[in-house]
């Protein structure tokens, strides 16, 4: 029995989360049985609340209590057509005062055609996800809005779209692309509470760059994530097919906040934190965060300042921090006091965002794995280079495209290790591909890798006794080898000197009407003693899983088989993660 109007998403959540109030259910929809009935064999469509007033009458008022059959049939026909039942057969028996309705077949979108002022590089592929969707008002609204978004993403910032649809399922988009636009001068709608250059540091575009509406969306999102502005939107203002200004509408909420949180990540559960944060500190809109965090694995107290120190360059920042942390991993237990001082800058160039940071950390680490706890005091110069594409950042909440890389390089001079100087490099990367660039992806293919190694100048194996235990590499878990338990590789009591992993995942969003995305995965991993050397065995993790976007965040579950071919070791590992994305 079809139930087209009740969102299957709700039904799914009802089953998934168990909200009783949403159990409206998909019963057998009746219209008004005394007057209107479904023809035998007809699909039964649930009538929306307000439509029911006009079809069945409003018992609260005598003037609307009875709807004459012809009027009811007319409203019913309009309603069914709005739900993509374009050829309903409505039989009115005036003598019996009865209406019999055969809703007929629901019309789906069969093709999408672009006409009018179509740009030469227009590609209808991203819209093909709407094929086979019911030809109803919501679909047409979405097609219209998404076509406009596509044009504006291609640089046609002053474009307009209208459409018409035919009962055979054809949808014809009438495009008025106009000319390609460039980013014009930005104008503030509201008087900003911070220097306009501070807002500009979040903008991944410069005046004169080819226009792309996604970049203005990203700028607003960056400001909101950093809490510099509560909301920020960019509105292109066009006159005679030319974008004259980009109006920036930023609102500024409270600058300070207290937060208390309870929850879980895949690796740490339960966790809790208390946080105080100031988002617009001083005239530079710097940020200060003081946080007390605790989980089953680590507990720490952090003070973190990001100071945009130079008035002449609002993208440059100084990043001092202070941390006291207790960490209790399976392989080691440490208590660390750390003072950081970094300097960095953000760069937006082309479709990339780069964020290099350089600085040093002064750490005092107490390791409890020895009969007498060992205490190391280390001054480690550090270089961090983060790079990601703008589209990766834009879709961070639901990754589908783009790539992200992070390189961390740290160094312990030889006088601190009491042997050779030790270098540590750790490179992480993720790349995602959205098949046909669908606006709502149908197939997302992802790959990720990690490469970490300790290096010594002479190629000798670093002595674990003289380096912090968290410098060694541990594999296993949701972040790299999903067929093995978290940090269970290597099986020794300490980590390895080098590690390399590759992981591949294929995910099919939109395969079902409800938000359930199956996925298959395959992870590979090697470990080694350091200096870029890797030993046998090869660790394999084939598996399957599913992802679901719920109102409470993304839930992912995977089941993978951990395999070590050389030893014949096998292990089955299940992970359930909240909020984690590939």
């Amino acid at each position: 029995m079809a139930c087209p109007l009740l969102p299957r998403r709700i039904l799914y959540y009802t089953l998934l989360v168990g909200f009783g109030f949403a159990a409206a259910g998909c019963s057998t929809p009746q219209i008004c049985p005394e007057q209107i009935s479904w023809a035998p064999g007809s699909e039964r469509v649930d009538i929306a609340k307000n439509d029911r007033l006009f079809i069945c009458g409003d018992p609260a008022h005598p003037s609307w209590e009875k709807i004459p059959p012809r009027q009811a049939a007319s409203f019913l026909r309009s309603f069914l057509e709005s739900q993509a039942y374009l050829n309903p057969v409505i039989t009115v028996d005036y003598d019996a005062n009865k209406i019999v309705v055969d809703a007929g077949r629901r019309t789906n979108v069969t093709s999408i055609i672009a006409e009018g002022d179509v740009p030469p590089n227009w590609d209808v592929d991203p819209l093909k996800m709407y094929l086979d969707k019911p030809l109803e008002k919501t679909t047409l609204d979405l097609l219209s809005a998404k076509s406009l978004e596509l044009l504006k993403s291609m640089g046609y910032g002053c474009s307009t779209v209208s459409l018409r649809a035919y009962p055979d399922g054809r949808v014809v988009l009438e495009l008025h692309a106009g000319k390609l636009q460039t980013f014009p001068v930005t104008r503030d709608v509201n008087p900003p509470e911070v220097d306009t250059e501070i807002l500009a540091r979040y903008e991944p575009f410069h005046r004169g760059d080819p226009f792309d509406i996604r970049k203005s969306l990203l700028a607003g999102r960056r400001m909101e994530v950093d809490a510099v502005a509560s909301s920020s939107q960019y509105l292109p203002a066009c006159a005679e097919d030319t974008m004259v200004t980009l109006d920036r509408a930023a609102t500024f909420g409270p600058r300070r906040s207290w937060e208390l949180g309870f929850g879980a990540t895949t690796e740490e559960y339960p966790l809790a934190f208390a946080r105080w944060k100031s988002s617009r500190l001083w005239s530079s809109a710097s940020s200060l965060r003081i946080e007390l965090f605790g989980s089953n694995i680590r507990q720490n107290f952090t003070i973190d300042l990001k100071w945009f120190a130079l008035k002449s360059d609002r993208r440059f920042f100084v990043h001092p921090g202070f941390e006291i942390e207790h960490k209790n991993e399976k392989q080691f237990e440490t208590f660390q006091t750390k003072i950081d001082l970094f300097a960095g800058r953000t760069f937006d160039t082309g479709d990339w965002m780069l964020e290099p940071e350089i600085g040093t950390s002064l750490r005092r680490i107490k390791t409890y794995d020895f009969a007498v706890p060992r205490v190391d005091t280390l001054l480690t110069p550090t270089l961090i280079l983060k790079a990601h594409t703008h589209d990766y950042e834009l879709y961070l909440a639901s990754p589908r495209t783009g790539s992200d890389y992070r390189l961390t390089y740290e160094f312990i001079p030889n006088y601190q290790t009491r042997s050779n100087a030790v270098h540590r490099a750790y490179l992480l990367g993720t790349a995602l591909w959205n098949y046909r660039d669908y606006l709502e992806p149908r197939w997302v293919l992802g790959g990720r890798f990690s490469y970490g190694s300790l290096f010594t100048v002479d190629g000798s194996v670093p002595d674990p006794a003289f380096i912090p235990p968290d410098w060694l590499f541990l594999l296993g878990g949701d972040r790299d080898l999903r067929g093995f338990g978290r940090n269970t590789l290597p099986s020794e009591t300490q980590g390895a000197g080098s590690a390399l992993t590759f992981g591949f995942e294929s995910r099919w969003p939109g395969l079902f009407d409800f938000p359930f995305e199956p996925l298959v995965l395959f992870d590979f991993g090697w470990l080694g003693s350091g200096n870029g050397n890797f030993d046998k065995p090869l660790y394999l993790s084939p598996g399957i899983g599913a992802r679901s976007a719920t109102p409470l965040g993304t839930i992912r579950g995977t089941v993978a088989r951990g395999l070590i071919p050389t030893t014949g070791f096998t292990h089955t590992q299940f992970f359930l993660s909240f909020g984690t994305e590939f």
């Binding site: 109030f21 057509e81 709005s82 008002k137 919501t138 809005a145 960019y234 909020g579």
Partner: protein, 729 residues
Amino acid sequence: MKKRIPTLLKIFLSLLFGIMGLACTLALILWFKPQWVLTSERASKFLSPLKITLKVTKPAINEWFFDIELAPGCYTVPDRFASPIFFCVQRGHLAFTMRFHRPTLLQLTALNHVDFQITTLDIKSGPESPPTTISTPTGPPAWTRYIADRFTWGPFHLGVDEMRIADGDILLHARISNFGPTPTLDFAADAKSKGFKVSAHGKIEQRNSRIEIPEAKAVYEELNPGPDVKPMHITSELTGSYDFEHALLQLEFSARWKNPLSQLAFIAAEGGRFRMDRTGMWASSRLKVALHGKTPLGGLPLMTLNVSAELRRTESEESPPIDVKLDLASYDFAGIRAVSDLEIRILPKENRTDLELRRGDLRIEVPEFKKTVTALARTSWSIPAPFAVLQGPITFHALPFKNGENIVEIPFVLNTDLKSAEQAIQLETRATLDLSPKDLTPVGIKLAILLKKIRLRIPDYDPIAPVPALRRDPRIVRYSEKEVLIVQKKVPALPPTTFPIEVTIDGPPGSVSLLNRFLIPSIELQPKVKFAGKTGVMTGEIGLSNEVDIEYLNRRIKLESMLLTFTPSAAFSAVVSMRRGGYRITANIKQAQGKTRILLAAEPPLNEDEIISLIIYGMPRNSITAEQTRSVGNAQTAITSEAIGVFSFLAFASTPIESIIYDPATQTYSAIIRLPGGIVASIGSNWETENQVSLSKALGRNWAVSTELIKDSEGVDRGGTLLRWRKSY
């Protein structure tokens, strides 16, 4: 000198007599031996490209007999005088007799033989000829007398197998023949076009001094009228005679017009008579009109109207008056009663025509509207809600005509006094049908509607439920509409209507009331609107007469003023006020050309974002959470980008909002509304058009379930789900 003058005169006279003699000789030759001059060669040359054989004989001293045969073949006659014609003739034979007769010298006295069989006749489109004016006949034309006195008919046959008119748009087959002993013409013709088919056949006889039409029938059929449209069908019959002696024309006719309009089954003219003699003209007919549809008692009754008109000549030089009678004895259906005994006199004058209502009345009454509602309840003409509960009378009647200098006016009055427990329709409509004084053709209708009291109920609509689909989505093209569009491409644009309707709607303040549970007490409006049908332009305004409170989910706003103006483009303006957090907030809303500008003000003065914070959350901005501040920003952006319409703003102001999201890429926004019981309704896109609803659970102020990035032990951001409490300040 004296001798030379007579010589010249002699020469001149000799020449004159010589020429006269030559002319007389030629005349005598033409008179007695015309075949010497009128040869086939000369005639063919004159009538080129036609090839004819001409024989001229003289059966009597003052008679000539012409026998012409057209050679079989195809001919193209160039457009020297009229439209170019192409035809193929199988046989063509014409024989006629001409006689010398004073005072016209030569007259056609007999068509001895006519036999033409044309296989193809193609008449191309030629220049349009000016319209011919038909004057009122004052007596028998001279030719009728001539035919009655002297004309003789011979065997007659004229046939066209296939005649193309207007570039082949119309195909015609015709045959006119007479082979009998009496002068009788049988005719039959069929014409077919893409849109219609016509056939006619009949007989015309001459009996002494009378020409009679013993029978004549014609049928018109509409072809391919379109889906769901019944084809139009007209049949007509005619008999009659014309007496040459008394110049008396008498005709009897009947006609039946099937499906003239979608609401009408047929119009029939029965027992039609027409008589014309030297004293004047007289015509009468009984018109029957049948409506489509049925009632619980069966089909709708026939409307029978006796129509008669009389024109009697007078001795004076002035044009005679025409008296028309419209007699509708009684028509009673579904509580609707129509009566007419109108007697109208049409007075043609030198440059104009006056109209006079001599006596009688045309009256249509509904003594009790409820009876009509009940009678039509189970028909396709049922009275729709919310009007079906109304009770009271409706009257419509004609008033004496007015003959103005430039216009002849036929006034009508329509009054309604309909009421129910909470609704009312009380209006007085004065309608005028304007006629041209020149020829009494309608030139316009004026409707002046005075709304005394219109009070209607709007059902208990749920503002956050999906918007009902009361009309078809215009973006979805129906195939029938597409076909109409294709047809329209071929047809040139219609000229501006020459029969405009002007409507004026007026009413005192509060004359229109709309009742709804959210409107306290009700919306009272004053309309002053004028619609000019000739230009399709509406001007005027509809204003709010009272202040209205709009209350929904324990929130109240006041609609202080509202004005809808047509100048002629529609513009809407309204002032809404509300009290929030000790402030009096006013919103000045102006909507025109699809854009809505909303100007916000507060007393004491506040910034716009502070005002929006008060409107949405009832608190100043420093008291709301960061998420709420984000929603305030989104709402402000949506207002700035003119994406929020009037209804959305009213909904924002009168609904407890949880959050607002605006997407500048698609220029759509969505709002999450907090409903009693902690349930939250999320409205996708916007309130103007959208209707997607989903549900989730509210967690209360400052509490939220969210996904956040949390740095792991490596300093890498990992996603996590948190139950979070946040307090911003």
